[in-house]
Symmetry: C2
Subunit: 162 residues, 2 copies
């Protein structure tokens, strides 16, 4: 369990189990993002919405798949963001049932501000490591991500323009 206290069974003092260490790091980063975006009165899911809209203008349906939520949840999520002027709805001209969601200028600027703040937060966490380890950690993380994605038949670096 991630939130259990440090002393895992069978581990020497001053050590976390592999799983504990990764789980706690995950909570640390997640929590840092949560606190950061809370300063802008955003939740994690609202932030993810802004994030996926930075380089897409998906339909509500596509948004539901991207965020792994039910379409009815997307309705409310987008409506609250729209009420705050962060995103805009537009009826698709190709299919008049479909609604296209895009970032407003305000939404884009907020997304950028958060991204750079958060980047600084994570960089700060890494600064305690010696320079060689500071490169190794993201490299290993990438490796796990790429392998995990490929295990699901996804190429993390697939490009549309090829």
């Amino acid at each position: 369990m991630a939130s259990r206290s440090a002393g895992a069974p069978g581990k020497a003092r001053g050590e976390l189990s592999a799983v504990d260490a990764l789980a706690q790091l995950s909570f640390l980063i997640h929590g840092a993002l949560e606190r950061r975006v809370a300063e802008h009165d955003l939740s994690i899911i609202q932030t993810r919405l802004l994030g996926v809209l930075r380089d897409r203008t998906p339909t509500m349906n596509e948004l539901a798949k991207l965020l792994e939520l039910d379409k009815s949840s997307i309705t409310g999520l987008v409506s609250r963001a729209e009420r705050r002027g962060l995103v805009a709805r537009a009826t698709s001209s190709a299919d008049r049932r479909a609604v296209l969601v895009s970032l407003t200028a305000a939404g884009r600027s907020l997304a950028s501000a958060i991204a750079s703040r958060f980047e600084a937060d994570v960089s700060m966490m890494l600064e305690s490591l010696p320079p060689s380890d500071r490169k190794a950690l993201p490299r290993l993380a990438s490796q796990v991500l790429v392998d995990h994605a490929s295990r699901q038949g996804i190429d993390l670096f697939a490009t549309t323009d090829s």
Copy 2:
């Protein structure tokens, strides 16, 4: 932004920025836990509640500090867990205002089941790495955690029995 697509500016194809890699790994682990505990109709916060109770019997107030929630949020959280028979309330004999929260046998067994399932999930993610890296990743994660904690004046490995 963590949920942005892979190609970060200024990065060669096939690479994630350091921050992106860590953020995405964090979301991967968080999501894996979320899906795992959903099988038992638990949320992340309910799971964290069970987790902190594995080696503590705190008051509501202490629980609020441990989980970084308002005490009024703890009331509902504990009540829902209590209704499911996972935790129990008991009035403190030392201070009759205080309520002590503990894990029931059912709660403890559920917490153990989840911990071992989740441990397997994370181990599986690590198995794609060569053995040396498989040790390095948790080691680096621990280092970041310990340094982060000490920066806040906390000794992650403090013991009560010394």
